[in-house]
Symmetry: C2
Subunit: 265 residues, 2 copies
Amino acid sequence: MDWGAIDRYAKSLIKEAGHRIRVSFAGKIQIDTKADANDLVTDIDREIEQFFISRIRRDFPGHRILGEEGFGDDVRSTEGVVWILDPIDGTMNFIHQRRNFAISLGIFADGIGMLGYIYDVMADDFYHAYRGEGAYRNDERLPRLEPVAVEKAIIGINASWVAPNRYIDHEAVGRLVADCRGTRSYGSAAIELAHVAAGRLDAYLSMRLAPWDIAGGAVIIREVGAISTNLRGEEPDMLSSDTFIAARQGLHPSILDRYIRLKQT
Amino acid sequence: MDWGAIDRYAKSLIKEAGHRIRVSFAGKIQIDTKADANDLVTDIDREIEQFFISRIRRDFPGHRILGEEGFGDDVRSTEGVVWILDPIDGTMNFIHQRRNFAISLGIFADGIGMLGYIYDVMADDFYHAYRGEGAYRNDERLPRLEPVAVEKAIIGINASWVAPNRYIDHEAVGRLVADCRGTRSYGSAAIELAHVAAGRLDAYLSMRLAPWDIAGGAVIIREVGAISTNLRGEEPDMLSSDTFIAARQGLHPSILDRYIRLKQT
């Protein structure tokens, strides 16, 4: 497999998709809801996913595609090469803010993350990594992350996980919020993972993420020495939704041990 | 008073300060703590405040200056012209992220906010307003904000206010978090107020802000028809720290009535 060629192809495809998204703001965006009233999708999400799929199918006919909007393949195993795509991660930001959303793509071979991309379209910040070759923001190599204690950590976590919820003991999460240096929430898992990779957040937690939210980011953060698992400490599953944490080494076990009490779901 | 001339002067001063901050990243930043371990201050915060003060004292000797770092005047009344300055709002972001911080400045005359500025230095986004003349992001006029219901609102609120705290009934805040469309937290009051002004957040709440955190933003958001008060619904006090909410009309009373239960402090 010529991963260098796939890498160049994927970067070019993502940049073209980013251009299409920016152009889309000139027109009217059609907004629909999915499972619940706050799970939003637009015609642009769908168009961008279809753009990726048509190109990948034409140029890499043996590869499979797992995409958020469901136009890809019915992927039930990690065999072979799988492109795991969120055409617009942070759709609510896309609609309400017209910024702070990203294209997220991870390319996996037999379940191993080989290439990862997060493109913050409006900031024109492109994070990318090739397994074993380091992670980059645009042309700048991201340094390996040093360990940090909970008390000095800035943690990406949404306020909804500190309110009562069905996934986790919210009071223990409240203690994490009180003990850490500060919390932030940006409304896009991909952008929060880019922040972890660049050292702007020391950890990022969520109770419910899909493979396309984390596939690109998981490849990238591994290259700077950070760890991503579900909240039971297991390798993220690229076939189904689960809890999620990405964190610097050292911080990762501290958060899981001291603050995470999962409910049976 | 020639407010047009003061406006041009203030804009030029803020841009020069922004340049000095960007240049400061080339050197080493000295970090100290203030009241508690997470209340950070750097030599750059101090230098930038001193830069503002020396210029304002030279060119507007009759004006007074209230600044976060305390190099200004001992301002105990709102009489005359008062420049209310935060040289770097979001110091934790400045240190940990090297972005997502802002210069915040409000210029008040006998307690009335006449001019407001928020400069997101690294994004080079400059929000400004002159009382009665509308608010702008760079050269683009910001439109008046339409009302929005809690259920469709994106609210800027830090997770720490959903955890037990001494200011507010955190369970009621947890219901707000559950009922609204989504929450975000950016770690800079000035930047969150810029987001409210630009319609990217529908409201922003905090349990503890100082005049310099809100002075610039309060002038700006008024020009797009949003409201800022403390959490008892009173006009913000520009002489002491207090609770704070900025929100679109309609949303402001809904949040106060339905979700805010202040503790006696």
